[in-house]
């Protein structure tokens, strides 16, 4: 019985995240349409939601071409890496008190590790394509992700210090007893949000693909379902980061009793997914050097100050 529940949770997480990512393709376009005073895709199925399926069919039906000048093995491997890493990241997300694939005592570190692994996908994809645009995209992504990784991790350390644990379930439980983390750790929350956007290379930090300058960046040479995997990875990343923000800073499944906990979790994650899309609709992409200097000159000191202040207050109290 217990095993069955675990399998259910595992498959639910797996297919739920896939379906979520596929639907997000459609939902993002609808929302962008709404904010740009357009209608957005509204033809296939209910409110155009069939677009998700049509998109998948299209991607599968496309020619799956491997350029003769590419490094075959790495070229094929790269898109799978991002999907695998992101899906593994979902393993530690606590959807509700007892609904999670794994409650690791280093859950937070596991999540950070998995999102860092995703950079290999982009980097290797760019490198293996043997194309100058792809290479530039890969280089950018390497620099961007490695540098934003630093404050992504550090911004969470304040939370870890206060809660005294790396386990995501325990972090949520701490918030149940005390206060949601976005109040005491507001700076940490802001930095994690920014770093999260950069980490999932979404607009406005989508410099690795930057279609206006680099054709399509690291996935210039990709087509068919291999390209689809990159897209899937990106949308999985958006969902993962959103659910992490909800879990770590906004009390995960916590909420008034009239709705089941899992619903609160999805509601909060959904709000952040919408915020990600709003960013895409509203904010233009910075220049590459601006992005790097913003990270190292402003975000890093701010994170360290936040960390020091949190530590000092904890010691003093």
């Amino acid at each position: 019985m217990v095993e069955l529940v675990i399998y259910l949770v595992i498959f639910g997480t797996l297919f739920g995240s896939f379906a979520g990512a596929a639907l997000l393709v459609w939902f993002e376009r609808r929302l962008l349409g709404l904010w740009q005073d357009r209608l957005g895709p509204n033809r296939v199925g209910l409110f155009g939601a069939g677009l998700a399926i049509a998109d998948i069919i299209k991607l599968f039906a496309k020619e799956d071409w491997i350029p003769p000048f590419a490094d075959r093995f790495v070229f094929v491997f790269a898109p799978t890496a991002i999907v695998m890493a992101m899906l593994l990241g979902f393993a530690v997300v606590p959807f509700a008190p007892d609904i999670h694939v794994a409650d690791l005592n280093i859950g937070l570190l596991f999540f950070l590790g998995m999102t860092s692994l995703a950079v290999y996908s982009v980097l290797l994809g760019g490198l293996a394509s043997n194309n100058k645009y792809a290479l530039l995209g890969g280089l950018r992504s390497a620099a961007q992700m490695v540098s934003y990784e630093v404050f992504m991790g550090l911004s969470l350390m304040g939370v870890v210090m206060q809660a005294g644990t790396f386990s995501l379930v325990d972090i949520v439980l701490w918030q149940a007893d005390n206060i949601w983390f976005f109040i005491p750790q507001f700076i940490g929350f802001l930095i994690f949000l920014i770093a999260g956007i950069a980490e999932s290379h979404r607009l406005p930090f989508d410099l690795p693909e930057a279609e206006h300058e680099l054709v399509a960046g690291f996935h210039t040479e990709y087509s068919g379902m291999k390209f689809g995997m990159f897209m899937l990875g990106e949308y999985l990343g958006v969902i993962l980061i959103s659910s992490m923000i909800a879990t770590i800073f906004f009390g995960g499944w916590l909420g008034p009793d009239f709705l089941p906990p899992i619903f609160w979790f999805f509601l909060k994650s959904f709000a952040f997914i919408c915020f990600f899309i709003l960013l895409r609709a509203a904010i233009p992409r910075p220049r590459y050097d601006q992005l790097m200097s913003f990270g190292w000159k402003y975000l890093l000191p701010l994170t360290l100050i936040n960390l020091l202040a949190t530590g000092a207050i904890l010691l003093w109290a």
């Binding site: 904010w35 005073d37 357009r38 209608l39 509204n42 509203a282 904010i283 402003y298």
Partner: protein, 178 residues
Amino acid sequence: MGMILKAIWSQLVTLYRVLLHTFTPTDTVSYPEEMPYLAPRYRGRIVLTRDPGGEERCVACNLCAVACPVDCIALQKTEDEHGRWYADFFRINFSRCVMCGLCEEACPTYAIQLTPDFEMCEYDRQNMVYEKEHLLISGQGKYPGYSFYHVAGKAIKDKDKGESLNEATPIDVRSLLP
């Protein structure tokens, strides 16, 4: 530092303004079910109009063909027995036309006009070539009341030189009388 704060503030304002667009109505419509409003001056399918007397306005001056940037107008001049000019054939290849409206601007007789109709898709490219009988309409289009031959001072069938409303009677330049 101040610059950074200002930049962050401007980003936040941007986000807020875009968010407000949640409540504005869309500018686009679901096209095939719902027609968008097209202004009367919209540049779409081209027609050849007639003057108030029901005669063809086009005098086959070739100005439109010269003005056309993609050279998609072809025509040939002919004359009736009273000296009035007509187009013998008048052909517009709409598969090349870019709907720029320069032909309309060039036309001295308001004959060629663009209309707010853009639904002219064809499966066969050959069907995009419109001949004079397809182009000619029975009305006056956007400029009612204008008749080139009644201001041009040229004799046609029922009207001699200078007999029309805005025309002066011709002066006999060889006479010495005032």
